[in-house]
């Protein structure tokens, strides 16, 4: 039987990959991809805990359902903002967006 710790390590690894992606990708959509990874890492955690802790009403799974829904909404808004900026300035790289600084 797989001990719970492995799942947590897996989710931690995914979380760190997501963080790494967010910090290094210059393409904005790349950052979005990494954020999706972070959310999924959290989902794995939730589902794993739901199974191993045996909560009666399946809170973990229900929670991850909600997370998926919210991730959908968030990425819709995110992408539309990206497209709006792209249509306006034809630039998708983060170092293009330094209008407001200092």
């Amino acid at each position: 039987m797989i001990p719970l710790v492995y799942f947590i390590f897996l989710s931690a690894f995914l979380f760190c990959v997501g963080i790494y992606g967010a910090l290094t990708r210059r393409n904005v959509i790349g950052i979005l991809v990494s954020i999706e990874l972070i959310l999924n890492a959290a989902n794995i955690n939730l589902v794993a805990f739901n199974k191993y802790l045996g909560t009666p009403d399946g809170m973990g799974q229900v929670f991850s359902l909600f997370v998926i829904a919210i991730a959908a909404a968030a990425s819709v808004v995110g992408l539309i903002l990206i497209i709006a900026i792209y249509r306006d300035r034809k630039a998708l790289f983060t170092d293009g967006f330094t209008l407001m600084k200092e």
Binding site: M1, A12, V33, Y52, D57, G58, A72, L79, D95
Partner: protein, 162 residues
């Protein structure tokens, strides 16, 4: 035998996620992300969360990834891979992420997680449906507000300039 399946799925998830993040061509990244999500749904199946696995594939891979691809295609001409994809600070980011990973692993390794209680009845689908409708009715209803707001927002911002 079950363990081998898990190890295989976990390995796929890790490899695909690393690839999804480090690929030069953004379109390939999206595809690798899709593969990562599918392997994660495999993990869900392994964890007796069948419903969640299906939802993951249908909503996440089917819905959100397609959204990504739409976005990538809309901003097509920007995808020539010649432009450097990683930001100037990637060296330090690697170091920080590894540090974070080290901290997480160190702490999780030491925490005494609840012992394995092999439960027979995994939370079945109607259990989820029941709790959604009773215990978690409020968040469920509230999700409608968020989705509505997201849609209206997308329309408002996405509309062509008059």
């Amino acid at each position: 035998m079950g363990d081998f399946v898990f190890y295989f799925i976990a390995l796929c998830t890790c490899v695909f996620s690393v690839l999804a993040v480090t690929q030069r061509d953004i379109f390939h990244c999206a595809l690798w992300l899709a593969l990562t999500l599918m392997s994660i749904s495999g993990v869900y199946f392994y964890l007796d969360a069948a419903f969640l696995g299906v939802v993951q594939i249908l909503v996440y891979v089917g819905g959100i990834i397609t959204l990504f691809i739409f976005a990538i295609k809309l901003t097509a001409h920007m995808n020539d891979t010649s432009i450097r994809q990683t930001s100037k600070q990637w060296v330090i980011s690697v170091f920080v992420t590894l540090l974070l990973l080290l901290v997480l692993f160190k702490v999780f390794a030491r925490t005494s997680w609840a012992e394995i209680i092999l439960k027979t009845d995994s939370t079945s689908i109607n259990q989820i449906g029941l709790s959604l409708m009773t215990h978690y009715a409020l968040p469920f209803e509230f999700m409608s507000v968020i989705l509505l707001a997201a849609m209206v927002g997308a329309i408002v911002i996405g509309k062509e300039k008059k």
